[in-house]
């Protein structure tokens, strides 16, 4: 199915009956909340379990088939537990279970058990139950509190907690309170430490409820009602555990022999399952041998559903008909398993295990069994989180297959479906479902794409066209049911298609190195891999901050409320852009990692910030503090070294190391790891600044972020001044240098000379000279020359990019219409081609002529329709839109024409703007491109001229031409206009068709078919013209249709694809129609 395009979050429906009612009402961005899951709640009762077992026995044949895909068997020393277990962990969660009696003889009752899932280097799956780690947080200890007071406090708190957790069967809610010496990370403090209370609670969720009590205030003997500032009370339990045990996401963990115990009753499907104490874990930093990846199993899958005509598939009605699966071992090129499960028989597919079933129930259960046997560590796919997985689960619920949703690694534990409400300023509030599969990482490529890349379309088709240069056949969902209802051959066709959809995500994963990059990101930032996709940026910084703070004996306040009150601050500076077309080399001076450098250079941190009161009180010597341009005071590193600068230094040093290692590395896999690492380090370093400025974040500190930007502004200004003062004719240079533009971290200088090499030398000289005036590690670097350079305005420019004096590297553009979705392709092509002509060919008249030709083509109705198609997503039905929109109106009209093929909510609607009655509203002028093609409906060239082309084109040409608008948009080339006559308009039904002369269009007498009397004698030339047209179309027809055959991967079957994202879809259709017409025209000659 066309993911991203058509798939949408299914409408919320009732969760499966036996689900634990632990749903989270609100999951605001970056709100971290723990959620206790009670082990026995998720497990299926005994009688149900036996029912499942019986079911499995019945399907022994299938089981044999699946058995060949199981993991390699355990060696004897593993079985005897005589060797240590070393594994790479990928996923981690916790459950509430009975405290382990042998390992923790002193405690009893419910406790949090951390489960670590991973893979050994032999490929065995591991489930490690970690006991004894307890949730806790800090509060600052009120002055004068003595041990006695602490125990009183403990009792009061326990009592209040008991009120809040009435139903809890836990013996002691607040386990203990310890007095510790710590220091808050906030503000520069002269004393080393203060007393803090570490409050240890029984269960992770109690941290939040305890925090609530302390936030609101608690009645204390002798002290009265008192509120407490809590510290580190917003740290997720698993993250807390990882930090305290020095575990980072995706690293290797070892348990020596004898330090672990095989579980008495195995609860998971993992090959190795054992219990241990958290203190026995050996966690390795990912270096050397431990930077490798275990051969974990990656499952890529896709489902097909047979929708009803005119409806998007809904799990309450439409069956799942096929599931294609591909399992690949990490690091291998070829998949280990390729199979497809189909409803009804399906012809065999070479190299693929085709499993056909008669009922949907069997298909679903076969897939469940397959998941269990193949036991994937990572599940990937395209839009699986929002579509495929919830669909499967809801479908199973509709069919009442209660035993289906056991997809996780915990025996008989159903997957949990969580309603999540995601709200953000950009998208509004969206409800969706999150499917939790215990022990398996979900990695939805659609989410990754949306997160990491800015693309004009995120359909699987256009994403694979973009990254793999492969077009994907797209079968419209209305055809899917027809194929399913056909014969084994047509179902095979569908299966091949389904397999391709399962294969492409894997290809993308390999091509874009996602596994390496994300695992490295997890290692660098220390969060579990699953956090990277499901959570925002700030948790990554928070994790690093917490780790560092722990080393320094610092604690982080839970300063949420403080954040929202703070206002905004002035952003980065942009120097006035002197728009124009520069035909001399422009040197670009860049600050390398500007914001991190500033934070390091000026020691900006939470713990070096001096409050205005403190500044007066502490009387710090002026040489020990920095006053930032924004007026804040920070102490220098000799008084107190900042944590953020330290984190940044480490990140940048690590990046340098990774880059050096990358150069040395020979093994491609090792290279991939290192490259992923240096990238992760770079991203992490840059996100620290954002963390301090995120007002809704975890620990915002606008004093830091505004100081950073103010320094940044100052540096840009400073650079501009130095360049313009030094590089002058007075100082012996050939020309006066001029700064024509400056952005956040770069300055563009025109030195006035025309040789690239000299400009490079001057650039280097300037960079070195100016860097000398900055505090380390702030460094100005000369990186590239733009030559020629077209500066349009702030953040909009284009130029040829030179790093070597002899040849340019590429054409670089910024902020220019090339990727915007709501532009038609014509705009993009026009802009790119013009820039190409202006910058590379240096042919401005050529570019002008090119634009004029294009405009003339448009007006003369010679433009290829596919270039004019505009596409918009239909997110809700017409009534829900407040303003009438072109694509929504069109969808309504199409539904009236043919409900079966009309776009549904979730589809993307392509349309063109057609000529309509005078005064018609823009939204009434939209039309389906295919309908336009078939009925010769005239498009509205003026709409395209005025609303699409003119702005982007004028932007480019205005710095170059004096009268750009007049020349380009109103010249003589706009005089002649040709509009085709629609073949479906009312009046045409009454018109009688009469042949006209091919030469002069004069009406022909009855019985004459080709030429009028006047044109006789010009047969040869006129025939040549007709035949040339046919010939051109034939060539196009052949090339287009054979391309489609190639995409679909079959010569002997008709092309079915209806991918409107494909650049040749409309051309193909048009070629077919034009061909038929041209042939008829040519045939008139044979009379």
């Amino acid at each position: 199915m066309n993911k991203g395009g058509r798939k949408r979050p299914p409408p919320p429906s009732n969760p499966p009956p036996s689900n634990p009612p632990k749903t989270q009402a609100l999951n605001q961005e970056d709100e971290f909340l723990d959620e206790d899951v009670f082990l026995n709640e998720t497990l299926i009762s005994e009688d149900e379990e036996s029912l499942i077992l019986r079911d499995i026995e019945q399907r022994q044949a299938l089981a044999d088939r699946l058995a060949k895909w199981t993991r390699p068997p355990l060696s004897p020393d593993y079985l005897a537990q005589s060797r240590s277990v070393l594994f790479q962990q990928l996923e981690m969660d916790y459950v509430i279970g009975e405290s382990h009696k042998e390992l923790l003889p002193n405690s009893s009752g419910p406790a949090a058990i951390i489960r670590i899932f991973g893979v050994t280097k032999e490929g065995h799956s591991v489930c490690c139950n970690v006991h004894g780690f307890e949730p806790y947080f800090y509060i600052s200890c009120p002055p004068g509190m003595r041990p006695d007071d602490i125990s009183h406090f403990h009792q009061s708190l326990e009592a209040r907690m008991r009120e809040a957790n009435r139903n809890s069967n836990v013996g002691k809610l607040v386990r203990r309170i310890e007095l510790v010496q710590k220091r808050s990370i906030m503000y520069y403090q002269q004393s080393d430490s203060h007393p803090f209370l570490k409050i240890v609670v029984a269960l992770p969720t109690m941290v939040a409820s305890c925090r609530g009590i302390l936030d609101r205030g608690i009645q204390l003997d002798g002290l009265g009602m008192k509120t407490f500032m809590t510290y580190e009370s917003n740290v997720l339990f698993t993250l807390r555990f990882m930090i305290d045990c020095n575990i980072v996401g995706g690293n290797w963990i070892e348990l020596p022999a004898g330090k672990y115990k095989k579980t008495s009753k195995t609860l998971s499907y993992c090959q190795l399952e054992f219990d241990c104490l958290y203190s026995e874990l050996i966690s390795y930093t990912p270096e050397g041998e431990y930077s490798k990846m275990a051969p974990f199993r990656i499952l890529s899958f896709d489902i097909e559903c047979a929708g009803r005509k005119g409806h998007f598939p809904e799990p309450s009605h439409d069956p799942v008909i096929q599931i294609a699966n591909l399992v690949t071992l990490q690091g291998e090129d070829q998949p280990l398993i390729r199979n497809v499960m189909t409803l009804k028989s399906c012809s065999p597919i070479v190299g693929v295990d085709v499993m056909s079933f008669d009922t949907e129930r069997e298909v679903l259960l076969a897939w469940r069994d397959f998941i269990r046997e193949a036991d994937p560590d990572v599940i990937i796919g395209y839009n699986i989180c929002k579509f495929d997985l919830p669909y499967l689960i809801e479908r199973a619920a509709t069919l009442k297959i209660v035993e289906f949703p056991i997809l996780g690694r915990i025996r008989n534990s159903r997957v949990r479906v969580k309603d999540t409400t995601f709200s953000s300023r950009q998208y509004g509030t969206r409800e969706s479902k999150e499917v939790m599969i215990e022990g398996r990482v979900q990695f939805d490529l659609l989410q990754v794409m949306q997160r990491d890349y800015k693309l004009s379309s995120y359909s699987l088709n256009s994403v694979s066209a973009h990254f793999l240069s492969e077009q994907k056949e797209d079968v419209h969902h209305s055809i899917i049911s027809d194929l399913q209802n056909g014969n084994p051959e047509t179902r095979r066709r569908l299966a091949v298609y389904c397999l391709k959809d399962a294969y492409l995500p894997q290809r993308l994963l390999d091509k874009l190195m996602f596994i390496y990059n994300y695992v490295e990101m997890a290692r660098v930032t220390g969060v579990p891999i699953s956090f990277l996709l499901s959570r925002g940026q700030s948790i990554k910084v928070l994790s690093q901050l917490l780790r560092k703070a722990k080393q320094k004996n610092l604690v982080l306040p839970n300063a949420k409320q403080a954040g929202s009150e703070q206002g905004t601050f002035e952003g980065a500076t942009v120097l006035e852009a002197k728009a124009g077309f520069y035909e001399k080399p422009i040197a670009t001076l860049d600050f390398a990692s500007l914001y991190p450098s500033i934070m390091m250079a000026y020691n900006l941190c939470y713990c070096t910030l001096v409050t205005p009161e403190d500044a007066r009180k502490l009387n710090l010597p002026p040489e020990s503090v920095n006053k930032t341009p924004s007026g804040e005071t920070f102490v220098k590193s000799d008084l107190q070294k900042g944590i953020l600068p330290e984190i940044l230094e480490e990140l940048l040093a690590a990046r340098k190391r990774a880059k050096a290692d990358l150069k040395e590395a020979k093994d491609p896999l090792e290279k991939a790891v290192l490259d992923g690492r240096q990238l992760a380090l770079k991203i992490s370093a840059n996100s620290v600044y954002g963390f301090t400025g995120a007002t809704v974040g975890q620990l915002p500190c606008l004093e830091i972020s505004s100081s950073v930007t103010s320094y940044g502004r100052q540096m840009i200004e400073h650079t501009k001044k130095l360049v313009e003062d030094k590089f002058t004719t007075l100082n012996g240079y050939e020309h006066n240098a001029e700064v024509i533009y400056g952005d956040t971290d770069s300055v563009m200088v025109q030195f006035g000379i025309s040789a690239v090499e000299e400009a490079m030398n001057l650039g280097r000289e300037a960079a070195e000279y100016i860097s000398g005036t900055f505090i380390k590690p702030i460094k100005l670097e000369f990186e590239k020359i733009y030559y020629p350079y077209l500066l349009i305005s702030k953040k909009r420019y284009a130029g040829l990019y030179w790093t070597k004096p002899d040849n340019f590297d590429k054409m670089d553009t910024k902020g220019i219409e090339t990727v915007r979705r709501d532009n038609c392709l014509l705009v993009k092509n026009l802009v790119t081609d013009c820039l190409h002509k202006i910058l590379i060919d240096r042919d401005i008249p050529g570019a002008v002529q090119y634009v004029k030709n294009a405009i003339s083509d448009l007006l003369m109705n010679r433009m290829d329709l596919s270039l004019l198609v505009i596409t918009k997503g239909l997110t809700k039905t017409g009534d829900d839109y407040e303003v009438k929109a072109a694509h929504v109106e069109l969808a309504e009209r199409m539904r009236k024409r043919d409900a079966a093929t009309a776009p549904n909510v979730g589809d993307r609607v392509p349309y063109v703007i057609i000529k309509a009655a005078k005064g018609a509203k823009a939204y009434e002028k939209s039309e389906d491109p295919i309908y336009v093609l078939e009925n010769n409906i005239p498009i509205d060239p003026h709409y395209y001229l005025e609303n699409q082309i003119s702005k982007p084109i004028l932007r480019i040409f205005e710095p170059i031409l004096k009268n750009a608008s007049k020349d380009l948009l109103h010249g003589s080339h706009t005089r002649s206009i040709s509009i085709s006559t629609p073949s479906n308009s009312g009046i045409m039904k009454f018109a009688k068709k009469q042949l006209t002369c091919i030469g002069c269009k004069a009406l022909l007498r009855e019985g004459v078919h080709t030429l009028c009397a006047h044109c006789k004698g010009r047969e040869a030339e006129l025939y040549c013209k007709s035949v040339a047209q046919v010939s051109e179309l034939e060539m196009l027809f052949g090339r287009l249709w054979t391309q489609c055959q190639e995409c679909q991967g079959s010569l002997h079957q008709d092309v079915l694809c209806t991918s409107r994202d494909c650049p040749i879809f409309y051309r193909r259709k048009k070629a077919q129609k034009d061909m038929a017409e041209a042939k008829t025209q040519l045939d008139r000659w044979s009379f």
């Binding site: 077009q471 095979r492 590429k810 060539m1035 249709w1041 055959q1045 010569l1051 079957q1053």
Partner: protein
Amino acid sequence: MEKEKNLHRLQCSYTCLDESFEIGKETYKGQQYSHIYFARLNLMRTLLHSLVSNWKPFSPVRPVLELEEGKECVIIGTLYKHMKLKPRVLDEYSKERSVVPLVKPHNFTHSDDYLVLEDEKGRVKLGGNFISPSVYATGVVVALHGKESGAGDFLVLDVLEAGLPPQIDRPLKSSEDKYVVLVSGLSIGSSNSNPLQFQLLIDHITGHLGDEMEQGIASQIVHVVIAGNSIEIPAGLINGQNLASKDLSRIAEPIKELDIMLNQIAAGLPLDIMPGPNDPSNFALPQQPLHRCLFPGSSAYNTFRSCSNPHCFELDNVRFLGTSGQNVDDLDKYSEAKDKLEFMERTLRWRHLAPTAPNTLGCYPFTDKDPFFIDSCPNVYFIGNQNKYETRIIKGSEGQLVRLICVPKFNETGVAVVLNLKDLECHALSFGTQLSS
């Protein structure tokens, strides 16, 4: 041909066999290319099936989908060559306009190319060293002997091509020498065309040149075949845009000139003219005969025949099959051989005139037939518009004899080819109008 000695031009019987190449009233009704592959596979499979019993009597013939790992069998299907360098129309539309202009290489083969065999139901990737991807091209139908390897590939152990088609025995003819002249690439209207050269050729054919002996030979020329690219319309004149009337008449100029020249030949002896890629005909194969309205002068003669490309005919029971060169030129882009004649030989052995149509060679989407299937072996097989004159005789396993001829571009080489119908001997006729030093 009244001369002093009253030489009489010899005659021969002529049968046109172009029927299968006529498109006639067929139209584009939305049909796709799958049908032509389907028709081709059906024709070829019947043929190959009958050969398999002798070739691998103990191996079962299986559909691609019923392969079983490790079991030897024979599969029959259409080859598809996956080519890394093959230009794709998609790239022209979708790729970012690249800074460096695309260099169009002459040949698109690459060492990473691989073959796939496809029947109506499925396809399988071919492995092993037995079958070389550089030799084959998409669209060829073969039988393969081998077995499925573990990875889902088919390990090829032997290849069976259909081989030369059966040849109708040629009744022994008189010992009379009768000559056929083959010429191509006149390119009238091109910047380097030399009217004098062509006039010399005409004068030679029609017997207006040389002494008696030479005229005597000329009188034995019984037929002329012009194999494509007779005119060249200046590039850029026809580009779909509206033309000024003076430009329009410029298009017709070379055609008028050609008509005048052909007039002279047709007045003397039978002439077949085939369209080529540059001629005012349709692009896709089979190219339809050039319209008679282009030749108001010559078409008045019944000796003037405008034919299709490919063109098949018989002269005194000698069967000719020829094209204007597109079929072999396309193979030359997508596969490799030591010379053009080898490509020609392969098309005969594959029993298919243009296997790369429709994949890389434009072709009409036939629904019920594949006109390029060669069911009967020609005696003479020629292709036009080649860079140089080459010829060879090949022999088939059943005694078939075929004369292969590459007819060079006359405009560039000044060479026409003369073939003797008596013994299929062949020589070049070279016209130079410049004194070479």
